[in-house]
């Protein structure tokens, strides 16, 4: 008990996530909330941040940092209706910084909301029948599921399963309603309870994704818990269960590492909830609550061993897992543009660079999506690649959508490299950022595009991902080219990740700046152009050519090695 981490104390004293949030909101003398409350607010989907571009200036002005809040609205499988879209869009312009941010977990983020606007914003999100509860915090996060698939029925079933699971694992506390929606206080918090989580919730965040092969858009192996749809003659017969994936690590801290999930076995669709609950409660009871850097499920599994873990799951779920089926993944990028499913419905996947929906000069994707939401009759689906799918368009409605897409300049020519790129948010909002990410990757890609053109690799899809720190929010350790911020203008370069996301990459160069990145990649790309085998992926090539040694397990990711 004694050496529990600080956050554990805060959770325990929080009376099921109340903390002193109400008082913090009422304090007009600061734009911040009480320190302990910054931990509690995460469970409500709210992160305290400050505009880091202004920090130094405001300190000199004897003003507190420009505190702003990031609000995350979760939506299982990234699905929302046009009405909900319009509601969120309105909030982006009234209370947030005039942009909508599509995240790598198919959710929405608002940035730049000030304290006194939190209530109205959260209120409006809930009025739109969406929630921010458990979008962050030591609980199950937004549950991912593929936004598009050639098999509409399978997509529907996985999306439904994701929604049911999200619902089952959603916190039961009345605090959220009480604090944000003016709900009346429960007589005593004894009246409520957290059947699955208990009063201190999980030791750490917990993430679940569903995948439909051959598409691995959700990076299922980077998740704590994964369900890979197994389809036999167009029927969903069940899922392969994977567990223990995760990206987060710390520079130079060997005991922290990214890890790919292990495959546990096969289950039928109705076994999803009991098995998921068993994994969650196992992590609840055995996860490390003393050291947050060591608290994710991946470490729990490595501590106790996979066999113990599997046995524990089966005991708790009362389910025998069958042997896993063979699965093959071919790609992770979204199928951009129009795609028709087997029922003849059309889906348009719009490329949104780094997920930032904004109006920038000619390119007015925020306004454009608003215009589309006003006429669209289907739904919208966010992708794990930070893109947006305009889903369920009838053949004769396509022309109208196309017209709006071009009217608002929403489609910019982009190389496969750019289409396969991801960048986390990073500066100026992210409190953990060590370097630029979202604001910098686009320029870097301009330069890399030239390199590729010179080597005639223009239309080679290469998975490139950048994050502003080693936490890995854009899943950089499963990229073919991973760039992880070390300090302002300086990155660690990782190479050799599998195109399908089933091999981690390895540290190749440390502390490289813009020019250093280009200089490091130029010869490799030239070599790739010269010596690649037929449709050999860049990530596979650098390994085969011996530029980096393949990574067998997480701890090797930070060890530079060639062969």
């Amino acid at each position: 008990m004694t050496d529990f981490s600080e956050v554990e104390r805060i959770k325990a004293e929080s009376r099921l996530l109340r903390g002193t949030l109400a008082a913090s909101l009422a304090d007009a003398a600061t734009g911040a909330i009480a320190e302990d409350d910054t931990q509690i607010s995460k469970f409500h989907g709210i992160y305290q941040q400050d505009d880091r571009d202004l920090r130094a200036e405001r300190r000199r002005q004897k003003l507190e940092p420009a505190y702003r809040f990031m609000i995350r609205a979760r939506m299982p499988a990234g699905i929302c209706t046009p009405a909900q879209w319009l509601a969120l869009d309105a909030l982006a312009n009234t209370y947030a910084n005039g942009t909508l941010r599509v995240t790598t977990r198919q959710a929405f983020q608002f940035h730049g909301v000030i304290k006194r606007d939190l209530k109205p914003t959260i209120g409006a999100i809930n009025e739109a029948l969406l929630s921010t509860l458990a979008a962050c915090g030591d609980v199950n996060r937004n549950v991912m599921a593929p936004p598009v698939s050639a098999l509409a029925s399978i997509r529907e079933q996985t999306a439904a399963a994701a929604a049911a699971l999200a619902d089952h694992l959603s916190p039961r506390t009345g605090a959220y309603h009480e604090i944000w929606l003016g709900g009346d206080k429960l007589a005593s918090s004894e009246a409520e309870s957290e059947p699955v989580y208990g009063a201190t919730y999980l030791p750490r965040k917990f993430k679940i994704a569903f995948a439909i092969p051959p598409l691995n858009d959700v990076d299922v192996h980077a998740q704590d818990l994964g369900f890979i749809a197994i389809v036999e003659d167009r029927e969903l017969i069940g899922y392969n269960v994977t567990a223990g994936g995760g990206m987060g690590m710390s520079h130079g801290l060997a005991e922290t590492y990214p890890r790919l999930a292990d495959t546990l076995g096969f289950i039928t669709p109705e076994q999803v909830i009991p098995v998921a609950e068993a994994v969650v409660t196992t992590q609840r009871d055995h996860g490390d609550r003393t050291e947050r850097k060591h608290a994710r499920l991946k470490y729990t599994i490595d501590e106790h061993g996979l066999d113990w873990f599997l046995a524990e799951i089966q005991r708790r779920a009362g389910v025998e897992l069958a042997p896993a089926h063979e699965v093959a993944f071919s790609q992770r990028g979204d199928p951009h543009g129009w795609l028709e499913d087997e029922r003849g419905a059309w889906h348009y996947t719009l490329f949104v660079e780094n997920g930032r929906l904004a109006d920038r000069g000619e390119a007015r994707q925020l306004s454009g999506m608003r215009a589309i939401a006003q006429v669209h009759e289907g739904e919208f689906r966010l992708t794990a690649n930070q893109n947006v799918v305009i889903a369920g368009v009838s053949a004769d409605a396509r022309a109208g959508i196309d017209a709006l897409l071009s009217e608002y300049g929403m489609i910019r020519p982009a190389t496969p490299l750019r289409l396969n790129s991801l960048a986390c948010v990073g500066l100026p909002t992210c409190g953990l950022a060590l370097a630029e990410s979202e604001r910098y990757l686009p320029e870097l890609i301009d330069r890399l595009d030239k390199l590729l053109a010179d080597s005639g690799l223009d239309d080679e899809p290469i998975v490139i991902r950048m994050t502003g720190c080693p936490n890995g929010c854009a899943r950089p350790y499963v990229a073919e080219i991973g760039l992880v911020g070390k300090a302002e203008g300086s990155y660690n370069l990782f190479l050799g990740g599998g195109f399908d996301g089933r091999r981690l990459n390895r540290l190749y160069a440390e502390n490289v700046d813009d020019q250093g990145i280009v200089d490091a990649l130029a010869p490799l790309l030239a070599d790739y152009a010269a010596r690649r085998e037929a449709d050999e992926r860049f990530g596979d090539f650098v390994v085969r050519a011996g530029h980096v040694a393949a990574v067998a397990e997480g701890p090797q990711v930070q060890q530079r090695q060639q062969n």
Partner: protein, 590 residues
């Protein structure tokens, strides 16, 4: 303090008179007086009866905000004693209006503040005189010394008001009222002389009435002054409003090293400004005069441009200037305006000398221009630091004055200061304010109301209380336009709140929501708490805007006393008046 009266040779009434007289004295005066009396006894010949203590022949009442009038009044008393007769000196705040009926001779020293308003300590007496309760005063004889500043629209208003009102109540004027402008020393000395002669002539045992040259006819000049300021080095000049703010407020740090200036929290620093080059340029252009042209100014010869930037008031219009200019140029329109108070007030606000010259041009000579203009006055700034926390330094919080639409107009002192860089020097001197002081009792709670730059002295207060380890509770009410950019010294207040030094911190930001929100609203909102603090002996301070804020806060305080204390309006007013008398309600407003 009670005197040991048992073995006293004096008659009771004599004793009372002595006690009463002494009560109005400063300690220094008491010491001086005891020495004086002892000296008289020692010097007494057996033949001549020692000039024992005498009844005061007159009461000197002063209404004084920043201490000038008080000093003049106390000086008068000391000189009277030196000439062998007594006068009773009192602040109007400590004077029960009912006593007026018994008064025979009254010497009034009264300044004007706000926008032609009485100083705080005179308000109650003024209200009484104006009301029906005011008695007829046929037996009263009086004289008025009015202190003022002719750059304000209502010059010496309060002095004139008292004079008119006393006459209306049937009292007789002993001497015509004397009005003092910013440099009050000479006229005040003259008035003291007149009063002393009157006093001497009234003294029962005809004392030596021979008019001796007054030793200290006026308060001893401070070490530094408008004429001999101290050139303080600027240590820091930091804008403390955020980038989106419509205001430019500066935190300035000045070094007093070597000046030997001793100040207390609550004091102000007077800054001798230079006129902004643009302002000087605009005037020279409007007149078409040669900037290099030599003129005589304050007894020395210098260039017109030099005289205009360093010796004459260009940014503040004043009636005397308008009058002189109108007469010199024979400008009827201006003379009309001068006779229409409303028009005048409106014109004074927002216009400057160059505007007048441009609007009513005539070929004025360089010397004439200099002679019609007023001397450039110093500007005061509340000291925002404590001598204990920052020895040999003063910190100032200066709002840079820029206004005007078609042509930008600049405030002289604030822009002069804002333009200084570390290492530059500013001419300053101490403008002490004995009427704005922390309680002597370190355990006494204090409520500090200071929106905008009015918060400056509280930074000094809190630094002082922290340094002294004072245990009293501290409550700060601050307000401005926008929370995120105009919250002056925000991180310091938050640190004090965290450390516990600041017990309460309440803020009102007027433009962050649909309807305006000001400190007085917060005050009202927490009325019960305010009233509780006051009953716990809290001292209440108001600093900042005199036009709107101070009166609104004052009304609110009366409301609070009424509603929370269940008092009638009159009782509530009395409750607040009583706070004033006890010096538990102090204001420094501008």
């Amino acid at each position: 303090m009670s005197l040991a009266l048992e073995q006293s040779p004096l008659q009771t009434e004599e004793q009372q008179a002595l006690a009463q007289l002494a009560s109005a004295w400063t300690d220094q005066q008491r010491l001086w007086a005891s020495g004086f009396l002892a000296g008289m006894a020692a010097a007494a010949q057996p033949a001549a009866t020692p000039r024992a203590f005498v009844q005061p022949v007159a009461t000197v009442l002063y209404g004084s905000q920043t201490g000038n009038g008080q000093a003049i009044a106390e000086q008068l008393a000391a000189e009277a004693a030196e000439r062998g007769f007594g006068v009773a000196v009192k602040s109007m705040a400590d004077y029960a209006p009912a006593r007026l009926k018994q008064e025979k001779v009254l010497f009034l020293v009264i300044s004007t503040h706000g926008e032609g308003d009485p100083p705080d300590d005179a308000e109650e007496l003024w209200e009484f005189l104006g009301s029906e309760r005011a008695p007829r005063l046929p037996d009263l004889r009086y004289a008025v010394l009015a202190l003022g500043d002719s750059s304000y629209a209502n010059f010496c208003q309060t002095g004139r008001d008292f004079d008119r009102r006393l006459a209306a109540l049937g009292a007789t004027e002993l001497r015509p009222r004397i009005e003092c402008d910013v440099d009050y020393r000479k006229p005040a000395g003259e008035w003291q002389r007149q009063m002393l002669d009157i006093g001497a002539s009234l003294a029962p045992t005809a004392p030596d009435a021979s008019p001796r040259p007054l030793l200290r006819a006026v308060p001893a000049a401070p070490r530094y002054s408008r004429e001999q300021p101290f050139a303080a080095e600027l240590l820091a000049n930091q804008k403390i409003t955020g980038r989106d703010s419509t205001k430019d407020v500066r935190h300035l740090e000045l070094s007093l090293t070597g000046a030997g200036i001793e100040y207390q929290p609550g004091d102000s620093i007077a800054v001798v400004p230079r006129n902004p080059p643009a302002t000087v340029g605009a005037l020279i252009e409007a007149t078409g005069l040669d900037p290099e042209r030599e003129v005589e100014v304050d007894g020395e010869r210098r260039s017109l441009a030099g005289a205009l930037s360093e010796a004459r008031e260009l940014t503040r219009l004043s009636p005397p200037f308008l009058r002189a200019y109108a007469d010199l140029g024979g400008i009827a329109k201006l003379s009309e305006m001068l006779d229409d108070p409303e028009m005048l007030r409106r014109y004074l606000e927002g216009h400057e000398v160059a505007d007048v010259v441009a609007a009513y041009p005539f070929s004025i000579g360089a010397q004439d221009l200099i002679d019609t203009l007023r001397p450039l006055a110093a500007r005061s700034y509340s000291i925002a630091s404590s001598p204990l926390a920052h020895p040999d330094e003063v910190h100032l919080t200066v709002a840079v004055v820029r206004h005007g639409t078609q042509r930008p107009r600049f405030g002289a002192a604030s822009n002069h200061l804002a333009a200084l860089k570390a290492g530059d020097r500013a001419d300053v001197y101490l403008d002490s304010n004995p009427r704005f002081r922390l309680p002597d009792d370190p355990a006494a709670p204090i409520i500090m109301i200071g929106p905008g730059t009015g918060v400056a002295p509280y930074r000094a207060f809190l630094q002082q209380r922290e340094a002294e380890g004072a245990t009293g509770r501290n409550w700060l009410l601050f307000g401005d336009r926008h929370f995120d950019r105009d919250f002056l010294y925000q991180i310091e207040w938050l640190r004090y709140r965290k450390s516990g030094l600041l017990t309460r911190l309440d803020v009102a930001f007027s433009r962050d929501q649909a309807d305006k929100l000001y400190v007085q609203h917060r005050l009202r909102e927490h009325g019960a708490e305010v009233y509780r603090w006051l009953n716990d002996g809290a001292y209440l301070y108001v600093c900042g805007d005199a036009k709107a804020m101070a009166p609104d806060v004052h009304r609110t305080l009366i409301d609070i006393a009424a509603s929370e204390g269940g008092l009638s309006q009159d009782q509530a007013k009395e409750f607040i008046q009583e706070l004033r008398r006890e010096r538990r309600y102090q204001r420094d407003v501008y």
